[in-house]
């Protein structure tokens, strides 16, 4: 039985007004601007863009401010906003070969053409709190050195030449889009990558870590990790030719995975792939491990029933907005459902007690 109830409008309005005041915090402390968030909390902005699945640093910064720093709530705001936008079309696939790299490292080759470029990394920091940052007014500068403008080739190309690694054959098949059609399983690799790149960083990280600990091990090395900007081109129907419509920052990770061969494939290295909006290194590495783990069927490997090999488990649980929505709905009024549960428990208890009395 459903009983419609009304009420609480005043309480809700007041709760929202208080929320706004709490968001502002102590008024004697200067207010945080959206541009400050965009420039100084850039990695949070990147995460909101990646999981919100919309590249727009200003919007992501605004969402972080509005959500009081709750990044999943900020992702929710971005996801809601993107549904209001008309879709002009799809870009041409971005060319990460032509990336202007800020960072590019390989764990498999020390001396590679283009070199190891560390970029603005947390690696090699001592993870000691820097109390100098507590004092304001710092304006550090980066060092510079003469730059080589030659494009930086992908590491996997070297292994490709010797036939030691599987190739990723070019194709122009239109990929499925889970924002337009409900996801159907089994999913092809393109659909899996779309789901993972917008999936929750923590979830993808844990899945990847589980493969390293033995739940569907894939023996991964980072063949190459690169971060930088790429141009985005789109065919313009009214012109009949493509133009660049913008520039985005992405992180790309390609793993090189040991592979002993299977019933269908010769022994060779295989690859896992990660590509994420913004500087999102942990996510890109994790994505490439989870991508590789999910490829067991295609490569003729055995499933050991590990969570990261289970497509349904990974794809249906990696979206933090779906997860939050379902998780948190149980806090909303369920008075009637609970009333019926209460009656059921009372009746069962009464019956059990009556049975006990009868037995005695």
């Amino acid at each position: 039985m459903y009983v419609a109830v009304k009420g609480g409008e005043r309480a809700i309005d007041n709760a929202h007004a208080w929320l706004a005041a709490e968001r502002r915090g102590d008024p004697s402390v200067p207010e945080l601007s959206v541009t400050q968030i965009r420039e100084q909390l850039k990695l949070a902005v990147n995460r909101v863009m990646a999981e919100g699945s919309l590249y727009d640093p200003d919007l992501a910064a605004l969402a972080i401010k509005q959500a009081r720093g709750d990044l999943i709530e900020a992702v929710f705001l971005i996801r809601a906003y993107r549904t209001t936008l008309p879709r002009f079309g799809a870009s041409q696939p971005i060319s990460t070969d032509a990336m202007a790299v800020d960072r590019r490292v390989s764990a498999t080759f020390k001396d590679l053409p283009g070199g190891q470029i560390l970029g603005p990394t947390f690696d090699y920091t001592h993870r000691l709190l820097d109390f100098k940052l507590a004092a304001e007014g710092e304006s550090p500068t980066a060092h510079t050195a003469p730059a080589d403008s030659a494009p930086v080739p992908h590491v996997t190309e070297f292994l490709n030449r010797d036939g030691l690694i599987e190739t990723a054959e070019p194709s122009d098949t239109a990929p499925p889009d889970l924002t337009r059609e409900p996801m159907e399983l089994p999913a092809d690799r393109a659909l899996r990558l779309q789901a993972i790149t917008r999936g929750d960083e923590g979830f993808i990280l844990s899945m990847a870590y589980s493969t390293q600990r033995g739940y569907g091990r894939t023996h991964a090395f980072v063949g190459e990790l690169r971060i930088g900007t790429v141009s985005v081109s789109m065919d313009i129907p009214e012109l009949g030719f493509p133009i660049e419509i913008g520039e985005i920052e992405v992180t790309e990770c390609e793993t090189v995975n040991q592979f002993k061969g299977s019933k269908t494939e010769p022994p060779q290295f295989t690859r896992g792939y990660g590509l994420v909006f913004g500087q999102s290194e942990r996510k890109a590495i994790a994505m490439s491990l989870v991508d590789r783990a999910l490829r067991w069927k295609e490569l003729g490997e055995d499933s050991i029933g590990a969570p990261a090999q289970d497509e349904e488990f990974v794809l249906m649980h990696c979206d933090n907005i779906q997860a939050t929505g379902f998780l948190e709905h149980i806090k909303l009024p369920h008075y009637v459902d609970f009333q019926s549960e209460l009656e059921l428990v009372r009746r069962l208890r009464a019956e059990a007690m009556a049975a006990q009395e009868a037995a005695e």
Binding site: P86, R87, F88, G89, R180, P237, E238
Partner: protein, 189 residues
């Protein structure tokens, strides 16, 4: 692309498309009711209502089929610039537009699947005129009975018999529009 193709879109897309969307929704909710939609100035043979319906309902992800004389270069260019919808064969279409005779045979269009009855085509039928006369319509959204000047009867009876699968129709003439969803029962006058 000619100047004609570049003009005739909405001047205020958010407002005009919202109003048109509301009216089209109403026309499907109240089958047979004649409503007015405007805002588009498409090339012939599309009417104001036909162009407005396309601008409102179609986009780059909804394949459109142009039937008969609607399949001409000015219309193709106009849709490409203002809507960006892929122009396709009847079998791939989510929307089709044309005169009644050129849309036949209807069996070429998607009627949806039992899991996804929404994946059916919507046919926008170009009419010379529309009036509340002729065929008798009954069913959801109709209090007792309403009349609509349909081009024929049998095709719509066959279509309704397949419910929950089937096609949905939007009849357009000038700036008038009337909806006929698959749930409506049609009988001759």
């Amino acid at each position: 692309m000619t100047a004609q193709a570049l003009s005739g879109g909405f001047s205020n897309p958010p407002h005009q498309s919202s109003h048109a969307f509301r009216a089209i929704l109403e026309s499907f909710a109240r089958p047979g009711t004649l409503l007015t939609i405007r805002g588009a100035q498409p090339p012939a043979p599309l009417s104001v209502a036909a162009g407005t319906a396309l601008l409102t309902l179609a986009d780059g992800t909804t394949p459109v089929h142009l039937a008969g004389d609607a399949d001409c270069q000015p219309v193709r260019d106009w849709i490409t610039f203002h809507i960006g919808a892929p122009l396709v064969a009847p079998q791939q279409a989510m929307f089709a537009i044309g005169r009644w005779e050129s849309l036949a045979p209807l069996s070429r269009f998607h009627i949806g699947a039992p899991d996804y009855p929404d994946r059916a085509a919507t046919l926008i039928v170009l009419m010379d005129g529309l009036s509340n006369s002729g065929a008798h319509l009954t069913g959801p959204g109709i209090a007792t009975k309403t009349l609509l000047s349909l081009p024929e009867i049998a095709a719509f009876q066959d279509n309704a018999a397949r419910f929950p699968l089937g096609l949905d129709f939007l009849f357009v003439a000038g700036n008038r529009v009337a909806g006929l969803p698959r749930s409506t029962k049609v009988e001759g006058a």
